[in-house]
C-alpha cells in the first residue's frame, strides 16, 4: 500500500444537458443490468429452478388437473396461452422478492452516494428481469410445442402475441418493484404472494368465465390477465373463452391499454419511492 496514487484531481464527469443525462441514465441502467446477470452467472441452479417452476405448472395442468373448466375441444390449445400469461403475471413475485432483498443491502447506500442516475438501480433490475422473461417464455413455448400445442396465424401474429405477453410482464414488474419499495422487508413479500394467486386464478387463464357465476365471470373478463390471454389466443389462432361482453370483444385493445396504464402509474411511483429513501 502506498500513498502515491492519492490525489484530489477531479476526474469524475457529472452529466450536463438533457442528451448526455439520458445517455448516462442508459449507461448506468445497463451497468445495473450487468450486475444482475453476474449474479445469475454465479447462481445457475437458482436460475434453472426459476425456469422449471412454470414448466411444472404447465405440465401439471395439462396432464394431472387437465380437462378444463367449461372448455370445449382441445384443452391444450386453450391452456398453453393461458399458462404463458400466468407465468408473466407470477413474475411480479420474483421481482418483488429480489428488490426487497437488494434494498436491505449496504451496497444500495453506495449507489445512492454516487453521481449515478437515481432511477438506474430499478431500471437495470427491470431490464434484467425482462431478459430472464424472454428466456422463460422461450422455454415455455418450446415445452408447449413439445406437448402438442401449435400456433396457426403466421410469424407476425406470433411475434405480436409474444410482444403482448412481455408487455404484461413489464407492467407486473413495475408493480412488483413498487410493492417492494412500499413493503420494504422480505417478510412482507409473503403476504403479497398469497394475494397474487387468487388474482391470477381470477382470470380466464385456465378456465372459461362462462363456467363461473355471472358476477364472477364479469370480474374475470375485466382482469388484465384475461385481456392478454384472450388477445394472445386470437393471435396464436387458438380457441378463446368466447363471451360477448365489451371486455371480451375488445381484448386486444385492453391487452395493450391495461399494461400501459399500469406502467404509467407504477413506474414513476417506484422511482419516486427510491429517490425518497433519503427522507
Amino acid at each position: 500500500m502506498s500513498a502515491t496514487s492519492v490525489s484530489t484531481t477531479h476526474e469524475v464527469s457529472t452529466a450536463h444537458g438533457t442528451g448526455s443525462k439520458l445517455g448516462w441514465a442508459a449507461a448506468d441502467s445497463w451497468t445495473m443490468t450487468r450486475r444482475e446477470l453476474a449474479h445469475w452467472a454465479r447462481q445457475p441452479v437458482q436460475v434453472v429452478v426459476g425456469l422449471v417452476f412454470p414448466v411444472m405448472m404447465l405440465l401439471m395442468f395439462s396432464y394431472l388437473i387437465g380437462g378444463g373448466q367449461g372448455i370445449e375441444g382441445d384443452f391444450k390449445a386453450y391452456l398453453v396461452p393461458g399458462m404463458l400469461t400466468m407465468t408473466m403475471a407470477f413474475g411480479l413475485e420474483a421481482t418483488m422478492l429480489s428488490v426487497t432483498q437488494d434494498l436491505g443491502k449496504g451496497v444500495i447506500d453506495r449507489f445512492r452516494s454516487m453521481p449515478m442516475n437515481s432511477g438506474a438501480v430499478l431500471v437495470g433490475r427491470s431490464v434484467a428481469d425482462m431478459l430472464q422473461s424472454v428466456v422463460g417464455l422461450t422455454v415455455m413455448i418450446a415445452v408447449g410445442y413439445a406437448i402438442g400445442w401449435r400456433w396457426h396465424e403466421g410469424f407476425t401474429s406470433f411475434l405480436g402475441a409474444v410482444g403482448l405477453l412481455l408487455l404484461l410482464r413489464f407492467a407486473m414488474l413495475w408493480i412488483g418493484i413498487h410493492l417492494a419499495m412500499v413493503a420494504g422487508r422480505p417478510e412482507l413479500v409473503q403476504a403479497v404472494q398469497i394475494l397474487v394467486w387468487p388474482v391470477a386464478f381470477l382470470s380466464n387463464a385456465i378456465a372459461s368465465p362462462a363456467s363461473m357465476p355471472s358476477w364472477l365471470g364479469a370480474i374475470v373478463e375485466w382482469n388484465p390477465m384475461s385481456a392478454t390471454a384472450t388477445a394472445v389466443r386470437g393471435l396464436f389462432g387458438n380457441p378463446g373463452a368466447g363471451g360477448d361482453s365489451w371486455a371480451a370483444t375488445h381484448a386486444e385493445l385492453l391487452a395493450v391499454a391495461w399494461p400501459v396504464a399500469l406502467i404509467v402509474v407504477f413506474f414513476p411511483l417506484a422511482v419516486k419511492r427510491f429517490r425518497d429513501l433519503s427522507r
Partner: protein, 312 residues
C-alpha cells in the same frame, strides 16, 4: 481561514427520527487536507451526520457544504467529490472484489477501460490482487473492509467519510484498516472519521469533535482535549490494599481509588512538584509504593468527563 480552505461546513444541523432528535444543532468545520475525528457514544448522532453530509439523508434544518457545495441543492456534484465507507459493508457480497470495483468505476462514469484499470490498481494497493473470482461473502472481515475502502476511493474523492471503519473488526483487521487510512492522509484528501474508540481518534485524527445528544460538546486536538479536562494525573500503586484510603488522603484534589489494581489516582497541575511531594508524603506516612507514575489523562477519561459534564 477562508471558506476555500474548508472541506466541510456544517451549521445548525437538525434531524429528527420520530420523537428522537438525532441531531440538535450540530456545528462543524473541517479544514481541507486534515483528518477530523467525530467521537461519541452509540446514538450520539454520528451516523446521521455522516449520512446527511454524504447526501444519503436530507437535513431538516441547517446548512451543510461539502467541498464548498450545498448537499441539499447540488447533491450530484457533491456525490462526484466524495467517498463513503459506511458502517455496513457497502459492496455487493455476491460478486468478486474486481467485479465490484469495476462496476462502481462504470457508475462513476470512468468508462469501461479506465474502470477496469482503476479496479486493478486499487486491488493491488490494498493487498487484494490475488482474490480472483472469490465472492466477497467469502472474505475475512478485514479484507471486506479494505475492499469497501478501495471502493470509496475509486473517484479519487476530495472528501472521504469513514463511519466507524473498524467497528466489529478483530485487532488484526483494525490494524489493517488503520494503516490503509494512514496511507491516504498526506495525499490531500480530507477525511472525516466517526468512532466510538478513543484510541482510534487519538491514532488517526488531527482534530477531534466530541458529540453527544446530536451536538458538539468539545473540540480540539487530542492533546487539547486532554488538557481541557483536569490536566495530568498521578497514579500510585501500593503493595498493601489496606493502605489505599490513607494514601488517598495524602494526595491533592479529586482522588480515585481502584482496589483491584491497588491504585490511587489524582489530578495534578505541576508534574514535578506533585511527584516529589507525593514521594515525600508517602515516605513520611510509612506507606510503601510499588510504582508511581505521572501521566496525561487517557481519552477515555476525557470522554467520561465530557459526557458526564454534558449530562449534568
Amino acid at each position: 481561514m477562508t471558506d476555500h480552505d474548508l472541506a466541510i461546513v456544517v451549521e445548525g444541523l437538525r434531524k429528527k427520527y420520530g420523537d428522537k432528535q438525532a441531531l440538535d444543532g450540530l456545528d462543524l468545520t473541517v479544514r481541507a487536507g486534515t483528518v477530523q475525528g467525530i467521537l461519541g457514544p452509540n446514538g450520539a448522532g454520528k451516523t446521521t451526520a455522516v449520512r446527511i453530509m454524504s447526501t444519503l439523508l436530507r437535513p431538516e434544518e441547517g446548512r451543510v457544504e461539502v467541498a464548498g457545495i450545498d448537499v441539499r441543492t447540488r447533491a450530484d456534484e457533491v456525490r462526484s467529490r466524495i467517498g463513503l465507507l459506511g458502517q455496513n459493508a457497502a459492496v455487493d457480497e455476491e460478486l468478486s472484489g474486481r467485479q465490484n470495483l469495476e462496476m462502481f468505476g462504470r457508475l462513476y462514469h470512468l468508462g469501461a477501460r479506465r474502470a477496469g484499470a482503476r479496479a486493478d490498481e486499487l486491488l493491488a494497493r490494498f493487498g487484494l490482487a490475488d482474490t480472483g473470482k472469490k465472492a466477497i461473502k467469502q472474505y475475512s472481515g478485514g479484507m471486506r473492509r479494505r475492499l469497501d475502502l478501495a471502493a470509496s476511493l475509486i473517484s479519487r474523492p476530495q472528501v472521504l467519510f469513514l463511519d466507524e471503519p473498524t467497528t466489529g473488526l478483530d485487532p488484526r483487521g483494525r490494524t489493517e484498516v488503520w494503516s490503509a487510512v494512514r496511507s491516504l492522509v498526506g495525499g490531500g484528501t480530507t477525511v472525516l472519521l466517526t468512532t466510538q474508540y478513543l484510541e482510534e481518534a487519538d491514532q488517526l485524527a488531527d482534530q477531534i469533535a466530541v458529540i453527544n445528544h446530536g451536538k458538539v460538546i468539545a473540540e480540539g486536538t487530542a492533546d487539547e482535549l486532554k488538557t481541557k479536562t483536569g490536566g495530568d494525573r498521578i497514579d500510585v500503586v501500593l503493595h498493601d490494599t489496606g493502605q489505599l484510603a490513607r494514601a488517598a488522603s495524602l494526595l491533592p484534589g479529586e482522588v480515585r481509588m481502584d482496589e483491584d489494581r491497588r491504585m490511587v489516582s489524582a489530578s495534578i497541575s505541576d508534574r514535578m512538584a506533585a511527584l516529589t511531594e507525593t514521594v515525600r508524603a508517602l515516605e513520611a506516612a510509612g506507606i510503601e509504593a510499588e510504582d508511581i507514575a505521572v501521566r496525561r489523562p487517557t481519552l477515555d477519561e476525557v470522554f467520561m468527563h465530557l459526557t458526564k459534564e454534558d449530562a449534568a
